[in-house]
């Protein structure tokens, strides 16, 4: 893939599957299934801003249940023990890793911001932009979504 091509849904799938295999499904028992869920959920949205030669956001969105399962898997604890801070840390790191890999597909030079985790996605001005690609999946029966939003150049991403 050329460094100047825009990422696609297939790219997002490949990146997400690598991340899952490395951190969330290391024994192959909890795979990320590339099937659109019956119903999307954006209870928790973690994102990183990309700025520089390209401006936008890389987002990971999922249900509250999936966010707790992800935090539990990353932190080695039970989902019922997970705190809000654990979810923010875990989802933020997932967005950071996925965002860094998406950045490698964008024009250089770009800078990755620090991850942010938002819980009211529908009313959040930070989470706006033109969607250029999306990957929808199901994980442990819960909806999971990775997307890339482009912001008009000069638009605020930080």
């Amino acid at each position: 893939m050329s460094a100047t091509m825009a990422p696609t849904g297939d790219d997002l799938q490949q990146i997400a599957e690598q991340v899952w295999a490395s951190y969330l499904d290391t024994d192959g028992e909890k795979p990320l299934v590339p099937l659109p869920p019956d119903k999307l959920s954006r209870d928790v949205v973690a994102g990183v801003a990309v700025s520089g030669a390209w401006h936008g956001l890389v987002l990971v969105a999922c249900s509250s249940t999936a966010s707790k399962e992800a935090a539990a898997a990353l932190l080695g604890m039970g989902a019922d023990e997970v705190s809000e801070g654990d979810v923010d840390d875990a989802l933020g790191e997932l967005a950071n890793v996925i965002g860094g890999n998406v950045k490698s597909l964008l024009p250089e030079p770009c800078t990755l911001g620090l991850p942010e985790v938002h819980n009211d996605a529908d009313n959040d001005p930070w989470l706006t932009g033109d969607e250029i690609c999306r990957f929808e999946a199901t994980w442990m029966g819960e909806p999971m979504e990775v997307s890339v939003l482009e912001k008009p150049q000069g638009g605020e991403t930080e």
């Binding site: 990353l74 932190l75 950071n96 860094g100 911001g113």
Partner: protein
């Protein structure tokens, strides 16, 4: 020493290197890592360093450590999502010995530590 602003990532790295018989200290950013280093009686053999962190990023930490003779013996390995060629070159020029791009498998970390001579080949099997 594991330096990453994500507790989850610190835990993942801690598990890997603890399994190789390293004692692990953690820090959430470069500034905190420098403070921890100043407190330690023994200089850590190895630091695994994220790039994007608040307060002091990984590149700034590498630069600071390399400027201090006390830490000359520390092996510095960037473990980061930064994969632009220019960024990798900058980190290595600043004094990092190795570079691992996230997501990584435990084997990727182990292989780098073998290459650096910090663990014998096969010790992790």
């Amino acid at each position: 020493m594991v330096i990453d602003d994500s507790r989850a990532m610190r835990l993942i790295l801690r598990r890997i290197v603890s399994g190789l018989n390293f004692d692990v200290v953690e820090a959430g950013n470069g500034r905190e890592a420098l403070d921890r280093l100043a407190e330690l009686e023994v200089v850590p053999e190895l630091a695994l360093i994220d790039w994007n962190m608040p307060e002091m990023n990984g590149l700034e930490f590498v630069t600071a450590v390399r400027a201090d003779k006390k830490y000359r013996g520390m092996t510095l390995m960037m473990v980061t999502t930064e994969s632009e060629h220019g960024q990798i070159v900058r980190a290595l020029a600043a004094g990092a010995h190795e570079y691992v791009i996230k997501p990584f498998t435990p084997d990727a970390i182990v292989d780098k530590l073998v290459m650096l001579g910090l663990i014998p080949d096969g010790a992790h099997a």
